[in-house]
């Protein structure tokens, strides 16, 4: 359980609040281009985007004031995050998503799993290949042939 107003990174808060405020403002301006009533009714499609964007602007405005007023020294450095693992994992996931359709489910999932198993921990390549193959082929067979679903097929072989 944590208490109200625990300290957070004020630099992040400042940037996030400014971005949220700008998003709110952009949506507010966009909403004004929509019709304010439809088919003779008193309220149209612009009403709720206008209302919610105002709420977003007010809350992020408060956030901007709070984060810029906060002059306390930054909190102690926390444990370093594992970006050396996260960034390659994220890149692999992005590549996986975009090659899923061209390469088919089985090949793309197999490659993604082998690569990410190795990113998470080097070694045991044989075990990684075996688990990745079982997972990708198993999910494909169960989903496509047992459940009757549809997943991207392998190129050339068409299965």
């Amino acid at each position: 359980m944590k208490k109200y107003f625990e300290r957070y990174n004020t630099a992040f808060d400042r940037i996030a609040n400014v971005i949220f405020f700008l998003i709110g403002l952009a949506i507010f301006i966009y909403a004004q281009t929509l019709s304010s009533s439809s088919f003779g009714t008193s309220i149209g499609p612009s009403a709720t985007p206008t209302l919610w964007s105002c709420v977003l602007m007010i809350c992020s405005g408060i956030g901007i004031v709070v984060s810029f007023k906060d002059k306390r020294p930054p909190k102690k450095k926390e444990k370093p995050l594992a970006y050396d693992v996260f960034l390659p994992f994220l890149v692999s996931l992005i590549v996986y998503i975009f090659v899923l359709e061209p390469l088919g489910y089985v090949i793309s999932t197999f490659l993604f799993l082998v690569v990410t198993f190795q990113i998470m921990r080097r070694g045991e390549i044989g075990k990684s290949i075996l688990i990745a193959a079982c997972f990708s082929i198993g999910v494909y067979l169960l989903y496509v042939y047992v459940a009757g679903g549809s997943l991207p097929k392998m190129p050339i072989l068409g299965i």
Partner: protein, 508 residues
């Protein structure tokens, strides 16, 4: 009450159909695994399983598919609540936020060689809490639904405002951040073609956005991928040494000592769970604090008291039953997991709310009856398999985490068949790690996405009914009541804080 009991018996018949029993069993088993395994929690477990359920049940009639899927997802919910306690007791690492308190006495018990009875009392407490929750649902659900049927569109709109502020008010350490995330979710709900005027809003010419932002994509991205990224970045692999379980069954004295605690915490947890925003974490914390004050064996709390394990585990399970009341009767989910469950119900064309009890009694009572069966299955499943689940804790995270990411991709693609949705899921996954890390809760955002279109429909219906008179929001007594309650929900914690009081919040 008697009418409800009759419906409940019909629900039992539905829940006892072989297929539904199988789904309840699978749900409890998967849920327990979800609770035990690192890198995946109840919300992400339920979110990932929605598309899989949709696929598995695709050949069944619509109502049957919905009933079976929801029974499975609820089983996952309860199972995960229980599974979280296993890691708390055996390696002093809570599987879920709601099991944080269980670590205090549970781990001490395990170190004293009493890990087995600690795990068993969690299962027994959860079972009793489940029974009391079902009794509570029998007593309160139908009358509350009957009252809610009388609400007009203005009152419904204000009630949803109250639901959102309740989750925001208790769901974050910073009110403005929570409200900001609520507004983001509401804005996302407006994306797509407006059903009344046919105008495309915030689609920017992208035809993939015409049908709106899919709840499933956002939920899997923010909860499941967000948790995967968090596990990787923080190296949260739960690699503590697992203590041997030993004898599983508690002694008669243990049961006698725990009986009053289990009963008190079941009732307390159920009522607390009914309040939107008071999820399992907050309830288990409060129940532990309460028992520490009133329990006979209070001096041993923190040193391995079995009541210290029974209290939070019973309360968190009772709270998950209590949270079903606002979800099913009012259509207001009070916690992150019930918000995801509501999204699942809507995906299966079932709109939670008062009409559900009139229009689909077989589904709603089948679900309630399945809670009882699910809790019984958890008891039967967990007592003999405690040692197996203890072994599962040792599953290497470097194999598990990429598999969870691959299942998320599979789940979203299988339902949406769209790479755009996968890219959106990935982006929300990154936000799902960074935003909560800095105090911006994601549950209000997902809940707002679900409630947004309903709120808009009710507001527009009300405005048409009252010729655009916005003041009807405060002229309608019920609407005024809900709005005042919403304002109090936001302001009271602020006032308490200004007076120097500690305000505890639910982690969403």
């Amino acid at each position: 009450m008697f009418e409800s009991f009759g419906y409940f018996m019909q629900g039992m018949a539905t829940a006892c159909q072989p297929l539904n029993l199988l789904f309840a069993f699978c749900g409890c088993l998967i849920g327990t695994l979800v609770g035990v395994l690192p890198g995946i929690g109840p919300i992400s477990g339920v979110a990932i399983l929605i598309p899989i359920c949709a696929t598995v049940t695709s050949g069944l009639p619509a109502d049957q598919a919905a009933t079976s899927s929801i029974i499975l997802l609820c089983g996952v919910y309860y199972g995960a609540m229980y599974g979280g306690s296993t890691t708390s007791i055996l390696i002093n690492t809570p599987g879920e936020n709601s099991s944080v308190c269980t670590c205090i006495d549970g781990y001490q018990m395990a170190k004293q060689g009493r890990g087995g009875p600690a795990l068993a009392i969690c299962a027994i407490g959860s079972f009793v809490a489940g029974i009391i929750s079902v009794i509570g649902l029998l007593l309160f659900a139908q009358p509350l639904a009957n009252v809610a049927l009388k609400f007009g569109p203005m009152a419904l709109f204000s009630m949803m405002v109250l639901g959102l502020t309740a989750l925001s008010g208790l769901g974050s350490k910073s009110m403005y951040k929570s409200l900001m995330m609520t507004a983001v979710g509401l804005i996302l709900a407006t994306v797509g073609v407006d059903p009344i005027s046919g105008v495309a809003r915030l689609t920017f010419g992208n035809y993939e956005l015409y049908s709106g932002i899919e709840f499933l994509t956002l939920a899997v991205g923010m909860f499941a991928l967000g948790e995967v990224f968090k596990t990787i970045l923080t190296r949260d692999y739960a690699e503590g040494e697992v203590i041997k379980v030993g004898r599983v069954l508690p002694t008669k004295q243990d049961l006698k000592d725990c009986a009053p605690t289990i009963l008190r915490c079941s009732i307390y947890g159920f009522f607390q769970g009914m309040i939107p925003g008071c999820g399992a974490s907050l309830t288990s914390f409060m129940a532990y604090a309460m028992e520490k004050k009133i329990c006979k064996n209070r001096e041993n709390f923190g040193k391995g008291a079995i009541e210290g394990v029974a209290a939070p585990e019973t309360a968190n399970n009772a709270a998950s039953g209590g949270a079903m009341i606002p979800l099913l009767t009012l259509g207001i989910p009070g916690t992150g997991t019930t918000a995801v469950l509501m999204g699942a119900l809507i995906m299966f064309n079932i709109t939670p709310g008062p009409l559900l009890f009139q229009e689909k009694p077989d589904i709603v009572w089948g679900l309630i009856a399945s809670m009882l069966i699910g809790n019984f299955m958890l008891l039967v499943l967990n007592l003999p398999m405690v040692k197996v689940f203890a072994k599962i804790i040792e599953t290497p995270a470097h194999y598990l985490v990429p598999c969870i990411a691959a299942i998320s991709v599979f789940g979203v693609y299988a339902v949406q068949l769209s790479v755009f949705n996968l890219a959106f899921m990935l982006a929300t996954g990154v936000l799902g790690y960074y935003l909560p890390k800095h105090g911006y809760p994601i549950a209000p955002c997902v809940l707002s996405l679900i409630l947004g279109s309903m709120m808009e429909n009710n507001l527009r219906r009300a405005m048409n009914l009252y010729n655009g008179d916005v003041l009807m929001l405060v002229k309608d007594p019920l609407s005024l009541f809900f709005l005042v309650a919403a304002v109090l929900w936001i302001t009271v914690p602020q006032i308490l804080k200004r007076r120097g009081k500690d305000v505890v919040v639910e982690d969403t």
